[in-house]
């Protein structure tokens, strides 16, 4: 079972319910206030918590990022790591790869390395959306 600091906890609730996406903010907030019911927390070990943002990608990098995302979300961390290594060989300057690796390190509990990789991702000129995600990660570390 993972340990969540409060801000992460809220975010993961939001993601799980995916209310925010549907625009049902009020419901989402209710979910947050209710502390997301316990069953949700239990299922998060084995199943992908959030669907991969790279699902639709057809290119080599996108395919690997998608594989790595799904492997990480299902707890196959070794596989996620190898796949990210592969993605990095193909696109060594893609900030997404470093961001994904930072998330993986966070999951593995290597917070210092996670922070360094997140900074590395920032240094490679991520787009606006990705930059926000990276900064969010850095705040939670």
């Amino acid at each position: 079972m993972k340990h969540y600091t409060p801000p992460q906890f809220i975010v993961s609730c939001l993601k799980k319910e995916s209310f925010a996406k549907k625009g049902l903010t009020v419901l989402a907030l209710t979910g947050v206030l209710a502390g997301c019911s316990t069953p949700v927390l239990i299922q998060q070990e084995d199943q992908p918590v959030t669907s991969s943002p790279y699902e639709q990608r057809q290119d080599a990098l996108g395919t690997l990022l998608n594989q790595a995302w799904n492997a990480r979300e299902s707890g196959r961390l070794d596989e996620a790591e190898s796949t990210l290594g592969r993605a990095m060989r193909i696109s060594p300057t893609a900030p997404e790869v470093y961001y994904q690796l930072a998330l993986l390190r966070q999951e593995q509990g290597h917070l210092q390395q996670s922070r360094q990789l997140a900074e590395r991702a920032l240094s490679l000129g991520p787009g606006f959306m990705l930059e926000r995600k990276i900064n969010h990660l850095l705040r939670t570390l």
């Binding site: 057809q58 290119d59 080599a60 790591e81 060989r89 193909i90 060594p92 300057t93 360094q116 490679l124």
Partner: protein, 744 residues
């Protein structure tokens, strides 16, 4: 008499019990020490991949892919101009299995533009099986590639039995009929011309006994063969034989078993062998050195065809097929294509990194599989650049070179060249040759300065004037410029670009020797450098690999990271043991690093590195630095593109002068290499505290962009010059420009 007989029976029985123990002990469990196998990084193909079609084709050849007209099985390919069809081999990688695939690949120039499957649907990427590049051998240099009997090609076992032991499935270890047959033949010939050994006996001989030819040994061999048959099935014995039989010699390395022999002679997996090649391996069993197909192709061909005839005669294969196979060439690949320790300098590095985590014994016996970051295409280009440049530099055959190439963003070690001769497995200069590095350390001086924006900017004037400093050892240090002239006050960036020694010494002393040493440490120089002023001009001796680590930090934009030769290690069952993933550490803020990178870019455009653009297209942004040592003993170049870091060195092993500067020697290897591999531009770092303004660099003042000699330079905000120098624009123009700039 009876007593004597009884004693004999008891003795023989006791001996049999002892032999039985020997036989079973060795046959159970792990039969062989299997050396670790080392693999290059696999070739990945995808739309956007930069590689020339001919590089792809030669890589396929090197990996034993057969060019065919009709691509119908794994390990084959066809090329039609800019289109390839590849039937890849499946492979078990540390992250899982890659299936065998049929893929069409379209090129445009030297870029892959499309990948499609058999059904025409596009495919995101294809990963080929990795090229094996060597092993880590025990002192005996015995090597094998284990196979299961089920992996043998169709005709291997029938052919082997037909030639070596036709009664195999009927005898019980020894075959009186074959002994009789052999005896008749030997008597007729008046000497030993034929052996009556069964497969089981041959195995016993190879497995348990020495090579002496005595009657006692013959008896022992027969007894052990009987015991072996008693304990184990025909299949088990045969499978062991397939892996044990000695089939060739590669230098000190003994080639055992059909699995490895197939790689050794054809660079192909055993499963893929056709009838003719299978027959050749069977032919070699009788005498691997006498029938060596590389040294004695006629003999080998004759015996191969004999094997084929026997197969046809005994109806194992149709006559027509045997006849067709007899017309085929031997198909043996050249020794250079045998991918074993092709890259000894790289393997050295792999071993060095492995020894930190593994015992020598495990490396040489446990059948580990080591996946490295070596890029075979980059490695070959690097070696070619070293070899050809040294050749072109003149008749000096003693001139030596070394080179290290890594991935600029990740520190993956892609290539190591340790000698001018490819494949040379001796002194590895890239790792072992520590030489004074000359001006290669100067970037550390200026980086130290640029980290103090209130004192130094790229255009701050520094003094290129005579220096006389106590050398810390009781004497004085009075460095000269290469041209023996002093240039007075010069902008900082120009002092670096032109590699002025006195400016570097003065700046280094001004910022403080200990600060420069600290910067060097942060850049990744682990060695403790002595606190002498001469360090500023590169008196310390470093190996190319250590220099690469320093420039790696610059190339990655200020992140320190280990240079990694190994990606992952898995055990003989494919279970991952360790993974060496990227770990990074920010060592410098982006802004000062970007300033240094700007200056190192100017080195290439206008400074001592400008000759590089005789090789590389001018539009490509690069960064780098030359290094030359006293009396022209060492010629260095260290630099990077957007995706690669490369360090090159030229010198003599006896340290005598080479008559080469960094620019007239090592730079040529570097430039030649960069012009032969796909190269990306260096991109500027994202730093929000930088501002770029137009300046008159020599006056360290603002300028207008249309003024003569005006340059746009980056500054850390707040450190940019305020006053205009010389060609000042009037206020109106300036305002107009400002407004215009909003829209740019």
């Amino acid at each position: 008499m009876f007593k004597l007989g009884l004693t004999l029976v008891v003795l023989v029985s006791a001996y049999a019990v002892y032999l039985d123990a020997v036989v079973t002990k060795q046959f159970e469990g792990k039969k062989w020490a299997i050396p670790a196998k080392v693999f290059a990084r696999p070739m990945e193909l995808y739309a956007g991949r930069l590689i020339t079609p001919s590089d792809l084709q030669s890589q396929l050849k090197r990996q034993g892919y057969q060019a065919v007209r009709d691509v119908s099985r794994p390990g084959t390919y066809a090329r039609n101009g800019n289109q390839f069809v590849i039937y890849s081999r499946g492979f078990h990688f540390p992250d899982g299995s890659e299936p065998s695939r049929y893929v069409k690949i379209d090129f445009q120039g030297s870029e892959v533009v499309r990948l499609g499957g058999r059904d025409g649907k596009s495919l995101p990427l294809l990963r080929l099986d990795p090229q094996p590049i060597g092993g880590i051998y025990p002192a005996s240099y015995e090597d094998r590639l284990l196979i299961r009997a089920s992996q043998a090609p169709q005709y291997l076992i029938p052919a082997l039995l037909a030639i070596e032991d036709r009664d195999y499935y009927d005898h019980f270890g020894i075959s009186p009929t074959s002994i009789a047959r052999a005896m008749v033949a030997n008597l007729k010939a008046g000497g030993v011309v034929q052996g009556g050994s069964t497969i089981t006996q041959q195995l016993v001989k190879n497995f348990f006994l020495t090579n002496e030819r005595t009657l006692v040994r013959k008896g022992k061999e027969a007894m052990m063969a009987l015991l072996l048959e008693l304990h184990y099935s025909k299949e088990e014995i045969l499978e062991t034989y397939l892996n044990e039989v000695y089939l060739g010699q590669h230098g000190r390395r003994a080639i055992h078993g059909f699995g490895l022999a197939s790689q050794f002679y054809f660079a192909q997996p055993l499963q893929e062998l056709n009838l003719a090649r299978t027959a050749l391996l069977v032919a070699i069993v009788k005498g691997p050195s006498y029938y060596d197909p590389r040294r004695y192709p006629e003999r080998a061909l004759e015996r191969r065809n004999l094997v084929l005839d026997v197969l046809a005669e005994r109806s194992i294969v149709p006559v027509s097929e045997a006849e067709r196979s007899k017309k085929l060439p031997l198909g043996v690949v050249s020794r250079e294509l045998v991918s074993t320790n092709d890259f000894p300098a790289y393997i050295d590095m792999v071993k060095e990194q492995l020894r930190k985590d593994y015992d020598e014994k495990d490396l040489t016996s446990e059948g580990l599989r080591i996946f490295t970051n070596l890029d075979p295409v980059i490695q070959r280009e690097a070696q070619k650049s070293v070899t050809s440049t040294l050749k072109n530099l003149g008749k000096d055959n003693q001139l030596q070179g070394a080179m290290v190439v890594s991935s600029a963003q990740t520190g993956d070690l892609l290539a190591i060249v340790g000698d001018r001769n490819p494949g040379y497995a001796g002194f590895n200069r890239a790792i072992e040759a520590r030489r004074p590095v000359g001006s290669l350390l100067k970037p550390a001086i200026y980086l130290t300065a640029l980290e103090r924006p209130n004192q130094y900017t790229l255009t701050t004037p520094v003094s290129d004037t005579p220096v006389k400093i106590s050398d810390g050892r009781g004497g004085y240090w009075e460095p000269q410029n290469y041209s023996r002239e002093s240039h007075g006050q010069v902008p900082l960036y120009l002092a670096l670009a032109k590699s002025y020694n006195q400016a570097a010494a003065n700046t280094g002393m001004a910022v403080g020797l200990s600060s420069v040493l600290d910067t060097l440490k942060r850049l990744g120089i682990d060695q403790n450098l002595p606190p002498y002023p001469s360090v500023l001009l590169g008196s310390p001796s470093l190996a190319p690999i250590e220099v690469a680590k320093m420039y790696q930090t610059i190339a990655s934009g200020g992140f320190r990271m280990p240079l990694r030769a190994i990606d992952a290690v898995v055990d003989s069952q494919g279970k991952p043991l360790s993974r060496y993933s990227l770990s990074v550490e920010r060592a410098f803020e982006p802004a000062p690093m970007e300033l240094l990178r700007t200056a190192l870019g100017i080195v290439m455009k206008e400074g001592t590195g400008r000759r590089v653009y005789q090789y590389v297209k001018p539009g490509i942004a690069l960064g780098g630095k030359t290094g030359t040592t006293n009396d022209l003993r060492d010629s260095w170049f260290a630099g990077y593109s957007g995706d690669l870091v490369a360090v090159t060195w030229i010198g003599h092993d006896d340290n005598s002068p080479t008559k080469l500067t960094g620019s007239s020697g090592a730079l040529k290897i570097w430039g030649n290499f960069m012009s032969n591999v796909p190269v990306q531009s260096v991109t500027s770092l994202d730093a929000n505290n930088l501002t770029r303004i137009w300046v008159n660099p020599t006056a360290n003042g603002r300028s207008h962009r249309y003024c003569e000699g005006a340059l746009q330079m980056p500054y850390i905000k707040g450190s940019e010059p305020q006053a205009y120098a010389g060609c000042k624009a009037d206020v109106k123009d300036n305002l107009f420009d400002k407004i215009k700039a909003w829209f740019e």
